[in-house]
């Protein structure tokens, strides 16, 4: 390397009054993270990078995604108007492609030859595999064993797209274990590989990078609703796993007089281990490189979680979203497995759109918003539900 690498971060690494986020990474990853931040800042300031990103978002991803009025759903829920931001129509079927494409472009610009990614529901893995195929980089995706079983169609898609999928059998076999293994793999290959983290979590600068590439969701949605209705919505609502889709949708509305609601996975009960609701179920702690709200036992060991949705069962909230919740700017609600399944069925029948189980959690709170008198709701439909067909069938939602 010709240029001496920076030894300090430049971008803000902490969020909110509690100072969440930070960079709690093993020393092996510190220099790669410093280099990543420097490359990210340079790319954002480079019109050539921005042009290529915009072009690929249009031609490859299919942006802008539509903002669809959902009048029959609104009537069924008792609301005056519901608008769905259709990220399910983005290429590969979820919002994940926005970040995957941005990071793979960044990695190529950094001269990296190989991409490492983790995936939970498989959407981020598929998006990363697709972006790597498009841009000609090798791709390895780490995925929990249990998630591979319940999201088998996405495993097949990743393989078709040329990615290697590595099963992670440890623990519950879900996203947390996949992140552990991806971080380990990156520590071993950080000289030639870039790690494309899929949600707004992990050590600095990942939460900021992911959120920046996902903000296009909210920027488009804000412009579209103003064009359609001439006014801002009363409520913006999205589901929250790590928080990339929620933050991406909400950040452009932060300075507006709009109520922001993030819906977490209520699973099948209120006890630790029965849900993935970090806001009122978690405590501040450090997991996977950042300080945030973490579901954990009294000893600081990460707790087991439960959700019908593989994309919402991560035991920690992304630090920026957690900070917005703690500072009162975003409200945290939860929806149970049963409510999410019912909401998915309702949207399918009312509007002809089969939603992913993740954003079905956001759909599940529409009746509550109606009871609270919210007239116009903008909802982030983060992905499509084809990957969840087996779950719908098992749970009786596809009868």
């Amino acid at each position: 390397m010709n240029v001496a690498p920076s030894t300090e971060f430049v971008l803000p690494a902490r969020f909110g009054r509690a100072g969440l986020g930070g960079c709690y990474a093993p020393e092996t990853l510190m220099t790669p993270l410093l280099e990543l931040e420097a490359a990210f800042r340079a790319a954002l300031a480079d019109p050539v990078f921005q042009d290529e990103l915009s072009r690929e978002l249009r031609d490859f991803v299919g942006r802008p995604t539509p903002l669809m009025p959902a009048p029959r759903l609104a009537a069924a829920a008792g609301l005056r108007a519901v608008f769905l931001k259709r990220e399910d129509l983005a290429h590969t079927g979820a919002h994940k492609i926005n970040n995957a494409l941005g990071q793979v472009l960044l990695a190529r610009r950094m001269g990296k030859k190989e991409i490492i990614a983790e995936t939970g529901a498989g959407q981020h893995g598929v998006a990363t595999a697709a972006a790597c195929a498009r841009l000609g980089l090798d791709c390895t995706v780490y995925m929990g064993g249990a998630d591979m079983a319940r999201q088998a169609p996405n495993v097949a898609r990743m393989k078709l797209l040329g990615a290697a999928v590595v099963a992670v059998p440890a623990g519950q076999g879900t996203l947390k274990e996949a992140v552990n293994e991806a971080l380990r793999a990156w520590a071993g290959r950080c000289d030639r590989a870039h790690y494309v983290l899929g949600s707004a979590l992990g050590p600095h600068p990942y939460p900021t990078i992911v959120r920046t590439f996902q903000q296009i969701i909210g920027e488009e949605a804000r412009r579209q609703i103003l064009e359609t209705t001439g006014a801002l919505p009363d409520v913006v609502v999205a589901c929250a796993g790590g928080g990339s889709n929620g933050l991406g949708l909400m950040i452009p509305f932060l300075r507006d007089a709009v109520r922001l609601i993030a819906v977490e996975a209520g699973g099948h009960g209120r006890a630790l281990g029965e849900h993935a609701a970090r806001f009122d179920g978690g405590r501040l702690g450090v997991l996977h490189g950042c300080k945030t709200l973490v579901l954990q036992d009294t000893h600081g060991h990460t707790a087991a979680t439960a959700s019908v949705s593989a994309g919402l069962d991560y035991p920690a909230l992304g630090p920026e979203l957690a900070a917005l919740m703690l500072d009162g700017k975003v409200t945290a609600w939860r929806a149970t497995d049963e409510e999410a399944l019912a909401a998915a069925q309702l949207l399918s029948r009312c509007e002809g759109v089969l939603p992913a189980l993740e954003c079905s959690h956001a759909l599940a709170v529409l009746p509550r918003l109606a009871r609270e008198g919210a007239p116009c709701v903008l909802l982030g439909l983060s992905g499509r539900g084809d990957k969840d067909l087996a779950t719908f069938q098992q749970m009786g939602g596809a009868t």
């Binding site: 690498p5 093993p26 092996t28 440890a170 971080l183 950080c190 600081g300």
Partner: protein
Amino acid sequence: MKPVLPFLMAGDPALEKLPGWLAEARGLGLDTIEVGLPHSDPIADGPVLQAAAQRAITAGATPRRVLECLARCPDSPDIVLFTYLNPLWQLGAGELIRLLRPTPVKSLLVVDLPFGEEPAWEEQLRAAGYPLVPLLTPTTSLARVAQLLNRSRQGGAGFAQNFVYLVARLGVTGQNGPMDLDSVQVRVAAVRGLTDRPLAVGFGLSAPAALDAVRAMGARPVVGSDVVERLAAGKTLRAALTAAGPPEPES
């Protein structure tokens, strides 16, 4: 015996084993030993130490129980407590220091806490006599090495409070495969140019020849995964350490 810094996982297979191992270590003439406090998400550890941590947690080795057990081990080498931030942070610095006081722990090696990330916490522990051991890896630039050595300047008593831990290769603990000893040698020499503190070299060392090569560089080799595996299989510490260079017979 030949210089070596062994690593044990507290609580694997049972916490009750720990006092005996520590006494045995002292009997073998070791001045310092690393003790792992198990964590649920050990992102810097390979499969052997992951499995050991999981067994230990399942067997009930909570941070509090481990520290209370260490408090009952006066017959022990100095201990470097190797762990991750969250289990320690959840105790709070005050309670952590209270639990550390009666133990032979002399320093902390917190793998996911880069220097400067929790300055108040680090300072509180250092002031109480528990400095953080600096880890230098193949990716740590020499500018950063200088910065870390400067930030972690300590000068307590003994090896445990003074040494610098050089990570021998990219990746996680316990990786096998050939070790590029030439680049380790270059690294040791570069760090030697910046500090006269004692050096330990670890991550993926197990072959006796590699351990001797590290000793020949004037550094102390760390052996972890191999020792943990053998202890879990019921071997004595002496037997577990034979690969690290046979202990000299006691006279």
